[in-house]
Symmetry: C2
Subunit: 460 residues, 2 copies
């Protein structure tokens, strides 16, 4: 419980309209998109300035109150589930794009800027911010950096962390720390920006973020290849890669996902297809033409039944909207949807698909699979009902099996969803005991009272 006096202090700092102590208000901030039990925070605050943010962190530090920063709450691993008795800092009052610098190819933003809004603002200047997590329509840049969010363009363009040039953030005492610069090159001190990327709010609270931009590609072409066998689609992925083509996106959907998406959005997808590849190439117009015809040749050579090229921007958008709807579409089918995130070196996609089929059958579960085949980041999606205890224990066993398989194939537990609360107990399996201890030493040194998003990544 947080006493009335402390609430009054927050109100004085941020204005009464930006402090939420009622249970009904707090309830909204008790969960995120992960399948985990909600935890009610003691207080929710909404700073609207850098100063208000820093002083809020300081106040929490002085009172040893746990702090969980929340953007849009789209986290899939429980990173935004608050600590019991803690404070949630909501960033939607910190949503200014402070600078877009066309000459020097960077932007400076506050953490609460919505990803898609930023991407559009950048594009209107002829520039490009490639990271496009599935939730970009609502997710925030601060959340993207805290999770090192990926998206559909990882293969060619990398992930959020590849675009973070610098940061300022508040440490556990509310003091301002600065790292990185407005330049591509900066080695002035420890790469704290690198450490903050993916640290899930456990090491500091972001104040401002400097993001790298690139010129917008001159041309783009989106294609949809239809397969009657998922193995053939996987071979086409390998074939494209072996041919040293690097598409901007190379997405896979299995039949289960196709049908769910089509039922949900009526995008005109072929519901009888065993698998689809959604491919986009971009760059110089001549390169795009060449890559597109090479991609087509590979797909046909691997037995694609048909290949459709988007003729207009509207057609292209329709394909990508359909893909982006996959999680929502699957989520409608069953009370509980577990979206996994195991990632393997991309040449191991066919092996991983085989294993997923075997796991679904062994544990008698429905697993739809879609994802970023081009960078090895599949999203096997388990449709279940958490209230069905017997099935839920098979789900948990299946998740274990998926992780084991990904690691056996040289991959990782999580490509882009983070460790959060959901996966911290698996982390040692991928790394080492010494890695966990090393990480805990950092956390303890930087946050001795353990107030910054406690329990995430490295456990309690």
């Amino acid at each position: 419980m947080i006493g009335r006096a402390l609430i009054a202090e927050f109100e004085k700092l941020l204005g009464r309209d930006n402090v939420f102590a009622d249970e009904a208000d707090r309830h909204t901030y008790s969960y995120d998109a992960a399948v985990l039990d909600p935890v009610l925070p003691a207080l929710v605050v909404r700073p609207t300035s850098s100063e208000g943010l820093g002083r809020s962190v300081r106040l929490c530090g002085e009172n040893a109150l746990p702090v969980t920063v929340r953007g849009a709450g789209t986290n899939l691993s429980g990173g935004t589930i608050p600590a019991r008795g803690g404070v949630v800092i909501v960033t939607n009052g910190l949503n200014r794009i402070l600078e877009i610098n066309e000459a020097d190819l960077y932007a400076v933003v506050e953490p609460g800027v919505v990803t898609a809004r930023f991407a559009a603002a950048v594009e209107s200047r002829g520039l490009f911010y490639p990271p496009d997590p599935g939730s970009q329509a609502v997710s925030t840049l601060g959340g993207n950096v805290a999770e090192n969010a990926g998206g559909l363009r990882g293969l060619k363009y990398g992930v959020t962390g590849d675009y973070v040039l610098g940061l300022s953030f508040f440490d556990a005492n509310g003091e301002i720390v600065k790292t990185g610069a407005r330049t591509v090159k900066c080695v002035a001190g420890y790469n704290l920006a690198g450490l903050m990327v993916g640290s899930e709010g456990t090491l500091g609270v972001f104040d401002r973020i400097i993001l790298k931009l690139i010129p917008i590609p001159a041309a783009r072409k989106a294609m949809l290849a239809v397969f009657d066998d998922i193995a053939k689609a996987c071979e086409a992925v390998s074939g494209i890669i072996a041919d040293k083509i690097v598409p901007a996106t190379l997405e896979l959907m299995d039949n289960f996902t196709i049908r769910a998406v089509e039922d949900y959005g009526h995008a005109g997808l072929p519901v009888d297809a065993a698998a689809l590849l959604l491919i986009e190439v971009d760059g110089h117009a001549a390169q795009v033409e060449e890559d597109a015809s090479r991609v087509e040749a590979v797909c046909r050579g691997r037995g694609a039944m048909s290949l459709r090229v988007a003729r207009t921007a509207a057609e292209r958008d329709k394909v990508w909207e359909a893909r982006r709807a996959a999680l929502s579409a699957l989520a409608k089918l069953k009370p509980t949807v577990v979206l996994e995130d195991a990632t393997v070196p991309r040449s191991k996609i066919p092996a991983m698909m085989n294993s997923l089929e075997a796991i679904a059958s062994r544990y008698r579960l429905t697993i739809g699979t879609f994802g970023h085949a081009g960078d090895g980041n599949l999203h096997p999606t388990i449709l279940t009902d958490r209230r069905d205890r017997a099935e839920w224990s098979r789900v948990e066993a299946a998740i274990d099996a998926i992780f084991d398989e990904a690691l056996k194939l040289g991959g990782t537990l999580s490509g882009e969803h983070g460790i959060g609360l959901a996966k911290s107990r698996f982390l040692e399996k991928e790394t080492s005991r010494a890695t966990i201890l090393y990480s805990r030493r950092i956390k303890t040194a930087l946050d001795p009272k353990n107030i910054l998003n406690p329990g995430k990544i490295i456990g309690e």
Copy 2:
């Protein structure tokens, strides 16, 4: 002093041929390429296996001996100058390329692999490892990661850190820590690989490094533009950028550097030119043609006297060899050469050049300037004689003035040479007191005995 018994332990561990205790042997490892006083290490050891490396670190930890890891010793900020009474671990016995994976676009290397040898091995497979620090012919990949080395291609391709997918390293106890993966996407735990990049050997000792590779560009074109006024050359740089062309390299040389390079290497550079731009564009053949003609138009529009295109690979190599010789050429002119590394947002290059001229004149110094104009990373090079005390104090004042100017223009103290011993006292000026304290907390937690390259980056 290290006792005979401990030396015997190292000999048992690594073999007698890999332990150097004689003063003459140790002397070679007492300095690097920075203008700083040498420090004689107590012992030099050369592990030839991962196990030998880890056990060497452990032995140093148990005996509280400072450890400085050394690749080729090309460090320009004193990062490889050992601590008094400490051990130097030389990595040239750890020089295996363990894997180059063409399908999954990564390589796994030991830290002692020479950068240029690796780049060539990768290129022979049709792949590309872009980071190309000036010293690449001798520098090692471990050193490049420890310093987050840059090079000529930063503008388009980024720096070493942008290619580190994962790492294993030994902590101060000699325990193995693992971070990152063989995939573009990995958010399993803290981004310790990000933290290790640029940490100058102060937080761990690299065991193996996983590096990202990309397909080799289909075509390249190198050009040399000659100007009769350095301001015009700077304007051409701005013009190329404003035109949203992203060359692979965009290098500037002033007249002083041109003459020094020509005297040194006889590459056929125009010694009367006030400035040269060395430009390379790469990518799809059609894109290269288009970019090259746009670059040419910009240069002529800004008053270039002539523009030469390299017709053959040999001609191209000659241009780049000349550029790479700049530091060696300047170093021959005077007993002491101070190579600075201040970096500004690239649109500020003209302002920075003006300031450098003013500083040279104010402090009555000879400053030659060359560098990576395309990414704002200039290398003003002060030619002096450290034994001349009066001049040396003017040199120190000029360095201060250069840093102040770079920060005023929104830049950084160091783009690619690191902080090391040389710049740690300036770091707070760029960041904040809290940043230094935050960094020290990390260092102290991870290395409580302060054995890992003590004194570097954050001072004692």
